[in-house]
Subunit: 272 residues, 2 copies
């Protein structure tokens, strides 16, 4: 099957356009897309070069490329949208109805969207990242009093990326504690965690997936054996249930989904 | 000024809706918005409760709330969109024209968007996060041969969050190396970095901002003095220029912008 050429074009980072176009295209699993990101198209000159490339792509493939754009500047948008493409403007589509509803004109300024420019915001984010780094993998347990959430689970269930994501995306203070085989010989909460029960959030996983992950680096090791993985997952889930710790199965979830779920379930507040 | 009540509603994480609505609203700096995120509205029951809350909000404030939604399911969208709100569907608006253009029906399935469900993808992301953690702050220099990029700059210019973001968002292997006062006594590249010149990317910053950041924790210290910050930034930039290392001033940039810029400038490829 031929792939449909698709371009994600923005005058800034293109993250908004990437996120929404990815969501949209995932609704068409039967179509293959060949996606190219073209961020920072922020001068008429770059816009014209891009339009030329789009026209060539249309000519070469015989099919108009799809273009998903967030172009705030009218001139750049005009140049790109009049190329030989199917043009979806993810931004301008909503700006006009918003202007009407709010009864003000939009600023038409480029790239205000992803800026964490305020010092207090920057500082909140940095503090959260530093906290996640310092408390990774069961280090610095004495920091838990300052944690918003302590993510708990067997080794390789996704605790580290989840905490880093929570810190970067939400400025949340997220520590993580690995349940070792010692902890998992009982279904009681480890003594070090018991005082923070209300902050705990568990990660579980399909034991077969866990085995697959562990075998990548520790093939043959007892740590990566099916039995070990099954036992650890069963014990961890029993522990979470006994202590009434909310938990989520991470097998089919991305870091973004796990993070959003923890924020939602824990009623945590974004810090910036 | 009264704030306009705004709700970001999704049947999944709401990240797409959050990203786009944030971009859109930032174009109206004169309006204050009171934004509430309502993710995981994934049953008709939850949708009806949400619609009730929206109607109450409209009644209490006398103004229709703005709703930015990514609701894939028709029933849930119907329930929310018929509440007393100004409804912007960030998703459905584009699905129908896409269906026509592609000549296939969309799957109407919830939450395919942020899934990193494939094991190879999961694995690529985890490897990148582990790499960033292992090589943070000038550790494990022998790993640099495997790095896609080595982020270099004086202390507190934003290297760590940038590398974590690059690993999480793009699966890029990003190490970071802090330029210490020892390194900065010369404008030559440090000997340990010289073999990796092509992989280097510099971070610079406004010296006053750097001073502000350093003073937060090290007030009174020579490390946080204006002179030190000015000297380190000037030397670092001179070093970058002399060695032809691309660099970016991070003062007014978010981690997302710095990350996207490095990927763009370095022609790095997303690994998943």
């Amino acid at each position: 099957m031929r792939k449909r050429h698709t371009y994600v074009i923005s005058d800034r980072t293109g993250l908004t356009a990437e996120t929404l176009s990815h969501s949209l295209l995932s609704q068409f699993p039967s179509v293959q897309f060949d996606i190219e990101n073209l961020p920072f198209i922020d001068t008429p000159e770059k816009a014209r070069q891009t339009a030329d490339a789009l026209n060539k792509s249309a000519h070469a493939s015989g099919v108009k490329p799809l273009v998903f754009a967030t172009l705030v500047n009218d001139e750049m948008r005009e140049i790109i949208s009049t190329a030989n493409v199917v043009f979806f403007d993810l931004f301008d589509t909503f700006i006009e109805p918003l202007e009407k509803e709010l009864d003000v004109e939009s600023s038409h300024s480029v790239g205000k969207s992803h800026g964490v420019l305020d010092f207090a915001e920057y500082s909140a984010r940095m503090s959260a990242v530093n906290f996640a780094m310092a408390t990774d993998d069961g280090m610095e347990l004495d920091h838990y009093a300052r944690a918003d959430v302590v993510v708990v689970g067997p080794s390789r269930t996704g605790k580290t990326p989840t905490c880093l994501y929570l810190s970067l995306q939400f400025g949340v203070f997220a520590a993580n504690y690995p349940l070792t085989d010692n902890d998992l010989n009982s279904t009681d909460l480890p003594a070090t965690l018991a005082p923070y029960r209300e902050k705990l959030f568990g990660l579980s996983i399909d034991p077969f997936r866990l085995q697959q992950i562990r075998q990548e680096r520790y093939s043959g090791d007892i740590y990566a054996a099916a039995k070990t993985c099954q036992f650890e997952v069963a014990q961890a889930e029993a522990m979470f249930r006994a202590a009434d710790v909310p938990f989520v199965n991470t097998t089919k979830k991305s870091v973004e989904e796990i993070g959003a779920y923890i924020v939602h379930k824990g009623a945590l507040r974004r810090k910036f």
